[in-house]
């Protein structure tokens, strides 16, 4: 069953009608509905093209958070072999909001780390909706250190509304954990590639995305705070999230212009949720393309160029 977003309702009606017609035809052999159904299909596709050609930033947020969008676990399953999860921060717990472990990417050993949001009530609760606690970032630091020690590239899949704002998380040093994870990214002498596959929420995203190359899926978002959060602070009204989303420049296209990200990965028509396999394949191709040129770089150069990349942000791509 397709899960439609609010702005996709007109589309849902047309696609629903086409499906109804076909269902009726299946029940009644004498009926020939194919011509009408095909006309509806064409209409739906034209509408989809139109709708997704000009997604507003707020609509992009909705697509980025779409429940049927492929999540970290699916990418790992499809793109990597011999995935061997490694758990725990050796201090407190294993945070299920963060997945990670050794795996092979096109036969090459890599360390893959990512936020997993879950895809039904049970797994969402288990994954804490992809909102990590300090032990999640500390696990990531541990895995990055392991990769660094053995010269293995790190691939980070970013998909989080943000770090978890909870009592225990604060007590155990959420800020310090995020800061150390960002710092670890910037210390790595191996290639680090980050792909924002859905939501890149604030410090919780940066902790993995201080990378040599940062790619974003076409309809993913990356921001300093959620549009709802921004609206409630600056507009004093969380309902002004549309305005906030416009003002914040959180779409992949705007971030590429600002030279904050390096690469945009195209999504299938109608968003990643409409063709998960094709989306996952595109992400795989992008990772391979971004990783190849980094593999020839010296460890010193990988550190140096990564640092320079961040120091330079704000000095180009901005209109004076």
């Amino acid at each position: 069953m397709t899960h439609y977003l609010e702005f996709e309702k007109p589309l849902a009606e047309i696609e629903g009608k086409a499906e109804e017609l076909r269902a009726m035809a299946r029940a009644n052999e004498d009926m020939d509905v194919e011509k009408e159904a095909l006309a509806l299909d064409a209409k739906a596709e034209a509408m989809l093209v139109d709708m997704y050609k000009t997604l507003t930033p707020w609509r992009k947020c909705q697509v980025a958070r779409h429940p049927d969008r492929p999540h970290c676990a699916e990418y790992i399953e499809a793109l990597f072999t011999e995935y061997t999860p490694l758990a725990g921060d050796r201090n407190f717990a294993d945070d299920h909001a963060i997945m990670g472990g050794l795996a092979r990417f096109n036969d090459q050993p890599v360390m893959v780390i990512g936020h997993e949001k879950g895809n039904d009530t049970k797994s969402r609760i288990e994954r804490n909706f992809g909102m990590a606690r300090p032990e999640g970032y500390r696990k990531a630091v541990r895995l990055m250190e392991l990769a660094d020690k053995f010269g293995i590239p790190v691939i980070a899949l970013v998909d989080t509304p943000g770090a978890y704002p909870g009592k225990g998380a604060e007590e155990r040093g959420q800020s310090e954990a995020i800061a150390r994870s960002t710092q670890k990214c910037l210390q790595l002498s191996v290639p680090l590639i980050a792909v924002i596959i859905g939501e890149g929420g604030s410090g919780g995203a940066v902790a993995f995305a201080a990378a040599n190359k940062v790619a974003m899926l076409e309809h993913s978002i990356y921001s300093v705070i959620t549009p709802e959060g921004c609206a409630s602070i600056l507009w004093k009204d969380a309902g002004k999230m549309r305005e906030a989303a416009e003002a914040m420049r959180l779409t992949a296209q705007e971030l590429k212009e600002l030279a904050v990200i390096d690469h945009i990965i195209a999504e299938p028509l109608g968003g990643a949720q409409r063709d998960r396999e094709a989306t996952i394949a595109s992400v795989g191709k992008a990772i391979a393309d971004l990783l190849a040129p980094l593999s020839n770089q010296t460890p010193e150069n990988l550190v140096k160029s990564r640092r320079k990349k961040f120091l330079d942000i704000g000095s180009k791509g901005l209109a004076a």
Partner: protein, 318 residues
């Protein structure tokens, strides 16, 4: 404090911090309700003389108290693109900036300076909560990096006084990018083998806490400072329960192993000197308020600038 400081301090203060502090104004301490004369408060670095409540202090007032003789040289900060996102909420961002600049007399929310503290050369940066809540945008990132680069150039320790409501929302993703940018600077400092000391002041929150404010070699906080990633209100909304007394305050973080020390503002200078001299392998300092170094003609008294009086507020919003 010994007799030297008792003798020297009032003289220095009369030279540098009292000059444009009118005698006839008072502020009410929001913690204990005591009426405090501005002069009395300024002499005590904006700490309530009755209950020790630490009020906000501007970077200039802090530096006047920190550096010997109240003398320091500002470190230049590379210019940034103004309003890079053409951001507009209920007000235009440039209008908010102009209002903050007018109210504080400062360019942005961080001031960087070099000078001597207890005859110990340092570079220091301080965040200005009175400037748009001390929020971290591109200027703050550039200021931090400029301070670190100057510290490396002069082979001096870098001392950071943090105070921020978090990221500068009007700079969107570019404010978020200051987290990795400032962290790169900390890596440079580390490679130069120079100490990085953080003094967390009220409040230090959000992306600032989750980057440079938590990466110090030594982490000191002022008493009762709110230090957090997510603010108490956000957490209460998430977990739907009341938070314990003192949650996310400096003493609470000290108890939970997140800080090295909690230190009264008026004792900070001596403590920083002690720590930095040990880390730098220098002999113990003479504990006193020393006059400004005499053989440094390039140093200028901060009082040459427009607004030197500590900004005293009676309502502090976190």
């Amino acid at each position: 404090m010994n007799w030297i400081s008792n003798y020297v301090r009032p003289k220095i203060n009369s030279l540098f911090s009292r000059q444009d502090t009118p005698d006839n104004l008072w502020t009410k301490c929001k913690e204990c309700g005591t009426m405090l004369f501005h002069r009395e408060l300024a002499d005590n670095q904006n700490v309530c003389t009755n209950c020790d409540h630490h009020m906000h202090i501007t970077p200039r007032a802090r530096f006047a108290a920190l550096f010997d003789g109240g003398i320091f040289t500002e470190v230049a900060v590379p210019a940034v693109v103004e309003d890079p996102l053409k951001f507009r909420d209920q007000k235009k961002y440039p209008d908010r900036m102009k209002a903050a600049q007018k109210a504080t007399g400062e360019k942005d929310a961080m001031l960087v300076a070099e000078g001597e503290m207890g005859r110990t050369p340092i570079v220091a940066a301080a965040q200005d909560f009175s400037f748009m809540g001390g929020s971290m945008g591109m200027y703050v990132g550039n200021a931090f990096i400029a301070g670190v680069e100057r510290a490396i150039e002069l082979k001096r320790p870098f001392v950071m006084f943090s105070a921020a409501g978090g990221a500068r929302m009007q700079e969107g993703i570019l404010s978020l990018m200051q987290m990795p940018r400032t962290t790169v600077a900390i890596e440079m400092l580390k490679e130069a083998n120079l100490p990085y000391i953080v003094v967390l002041t009220h409040p230090t929150t959000g992306g600032v806490t989750a980057s440079y404010a938590m990466l110090g070699d030594v982490q000191i906080a002022e008493p009762n400072a709110l230090i957090c990633f997510a603010g108490p209100r956000v957490i209460e909304q998430t977990i739907r329960e009341k938070l314990p007394e003192g949650f996310q305050r400096a003493e609470y973080l000290l108890d939970h192993g997140m800080l090295d020390r909690v230190t009264h503002r008026t004792k900070l200078k001596d403590e920083l000197v002690t720590i930095l001299r040990m880390l730098g392998g220098l002999p113990p300092a003479v504990v006193a308020d020393l006059p400004a170094p005499s053989k440094t003609p390039e140093l200028v008294a901060p009082t040459d600038d427009a607004d030197q009086s500590p900004v005293v507020t009676d309502s502090e919003k976190a």
